[in-house]
Subunit: 218 residues, 2 copies
Amino acid sequence: MNTRHIPDATVGRLPVYLRVLLELAASGNATVSSEQLAELSGVNAAKVRKDLSHLGSYGTRGVGYDVDYLRYEISAALGLADDAAIVIVGLGNLGRALANHAGFRERGFKVAAVYDVDPAKVGTSMDGVPVRHLDDLGASDSPVASIGLIAVPADSAQEVANRMVAAGITAILNFAPVVLTVPDGVAVRKVDLTLELQVLNFYQQRHRGGSPVVTESA
Amino acid sequence: MNTRHIPDATVGRLPVYLRVLLELAASGNATVSSEQLAELSGVNAAKVRKDLSHLGSYGTRGVGYDVDYLRYEISAALGLADDAAIVIVGLGNLGRALANHAGFRERGFKVAAVYDVDPAKVGTSMDGVPVRHLDDLGASDSPVASIGLIAVPADSAQEVANRMVAAGITAILNFAPVVLTVPDGVAVRKVDLTLELQVLNFYQQRHRGGSPVVTESA
DNA sequence: TAGATTGTTAATCGATTAACAATC
DNA sequence: TAGATTGTTAATCGATTAACAATC
């Protein structure tokens, strides 16, 4: 039973299950057991069953889960019904890569607009989407989107976030290495590439048998 | 007391503290309280103190933490002593952005080599680093690195991971939307851009007062 | 000393997982 | 029916946080 509250940890895994289910469907599998889904998703089978139970999604005992039905359920839970529009601010190396990222469109996300402040970039187009000036974000003739990607330098990220919020964006994916402050009701996630490398560096040195460095006093 | 085991959650926050401390140092702050560090890092003050206690790093009661000393301690704990070398495989939109990412070098990570299989790319250079053929990964005249970044399509990511492991790489940052299998002792982290958007989409719809979609049976 | 702030305790909370009754 | 596999329970584990004694 359930459906009320979906734990954060579960929400973070649903997209993984969804991707695996798409692959299973593509290769002609009609049903999948929690054991198989777990193996393909890199998690524990009990965790898969627990996660899915939060959706109120039930499989069939002795059989498993219907691949297509589960796909539908997870998509619905994530709210992936229609194409969600995203906007990207900042067209440096990373912003350009994001604007041209094929994976977004393939999974139902559409780049509705891209913004920068560089006069040399404004007026050109990225993958068919015209580059607008940041000042146009939220302008009446500007595309409406619910998700904004911040790919500007750290020192202007908060200002961009403020403008996004003012423009009605309620979810932000921040690539700038800075902590953003936003009003309640605005969801923020971050992708911090340097942080990832630093964390990897930690686990890597550990596995090498090296001690965690800082020596203890006592 | 401590230093033995550093919890995963703490490891993930140390880079954030480090970044904030660098900013504090740059703006001339000699000491910082857990309250200030927490505020700037977007976390709870008790969590900051608990995290730092795992390093065996002690501040001064009534005063706070010495900014420079804490920077040193966190860097040491993360093993960020000398420049760590990274290699990047895959020079599509994302791979090129990573190869040119200024943030890596600024934080002590050096792009030692980049690889692709496209003959049109092999032999050119990215930001001063020559583009090699993937077959050269692990070759005797190839730069040695401990961290590898995978920026190839999903269907070749596992093969690239295998080659990285064979070449002695012990930490992998995977940008391909696929679950990698690697031997024990190899650390893997992933950056899944589409997953981030899907998770944001979930929290965004929730905050709009919309119900979590899938209706309950009972 | 008085004020400030740490390091640690202990309570709480959320996530994970093995185990198994339910049931297809 | 026998075999398979779910959904759920309950135990365990790890992370968070408030509270406060220790102490600068």
